[in-house]
């Protein structure tokens, strides 16, 4: 552990892991969004997927939190309204925002509109909705949504689905 010109705090982790040893360096104090993740005996750096999720249904928010707890390379902050989503987006940035479509007051499409107007125009948005008829899906994509996930979703595969949607070219 030391200091360098590039990083305020310099950390060197030498990890014996089977035939591989790996190290991670970086300013973890300023950028805690990096973790070492083991995969099949190998070690690699995987960026932590940082998600904001807005849904007015407490049970759905619990399910989503549960889904993200299963994956060490992803984390979620849940909020219960469109207005709370805007507040969270004003406070910091996220890798993506997942929005329930039907919420009282400011709904999912309303949040997306505010984001595109300047709050977070580049942040990918995925709608999560129980009503995803083809014409509705077309409307969401036309608004700039990255993907639409249909409820009910499988909580055991939700994070993989989100990751896959974010990797697809826009």
């Amino acid at each position: 552990v030391g200091e360098s010109e590039q990083y305020r705090h310099f950390y060197l982790f030498d990890i014996g892991f089977g035939k591989t040893s790996a190290y991670l360096q970086g300013d973890l104090a300023a950028d805690p969004c990096w973790r070492i993740v083991g995969r099949d005996g190998d070690l690699g750096l995987t960026a932590l997927m940082d998600i904001l999720y807005a849904d007015d249904d407490q049970d759905i928010r619990d399910l989503v939190s549960f889904s993200f707890e299963l994956d060490a390379t992803a984390r979620v902050q849940t909020v219960s309204s469109g207005d709370e989503a805007l507040e969270a987006l004003r406070a910091r940035s996220y890798d993506a925002v997942l929005l329930d479509v039907m919420m009282p007051d400011l709904d999912g499409p309303g949040v997306l509109t505010r984001m595109k107007e300047g709050l977070a125009p580049e942040t990918p948005v995925i709608f999560v909705t129980a009503r995803a008829l083809p014409e509705e899906r077309r409307r969401y994509f036309a608004m700039g949504a990255t993907d639409v996930i249909t409820k009910p979703f499988d909580p055991l595969t939700l994070v993989a689905k989100v990751r896959s949607a974010l990797k697809r070219p826009g």
């Binding site: 399910l63 549960f66 039907m102 409820k151 979703f153």
Partner: protein, 92 residues
């Protein structure tokens, strides 16, 4: 095989009981259709994630029927109520 959603199930059962109570309290007329749609829309979304696919489909069927603006046929609502009772009071 253990149920990964076990910690969340008591809350889901309680929700089913609450939704059952809310739907049963609605008199079957057009003025109550928006409330019925909202309950069923939310229920359809959450029930399937808990593996209650029959309940999710029944809630969707009521929501779809109610979107016409009229109270749905008694049979469609009754099917949903039966499934809600079964989820809310497992083992009875």
């Amino acid at each position: 095989m253990s149920d990964p959603l076990a910690p969340l199930r008591p809350r889901f059962q309680a929700r089913c009981a609450e939704d059952l109570e809310k739907i049963s309290a609605l008199s079957p007329d057009a003025a109550n259709v928006p409330a019925l749609i909202e309950i069923c829309h939310r229920l359809a979304g959450v029930a399937g994630s808990f593996g209650a696919r029959g309940l999710s489909k029944a809630a969707s069927a009521v929501e779809l029927a109610a979107l016409s603006g009229a109270w749905p046929d008694k049979g469609v609502v009754s099917a949903l109520i039966l499934l809600l009772e079964s989820e809310a009071r497992p083992g009875q």
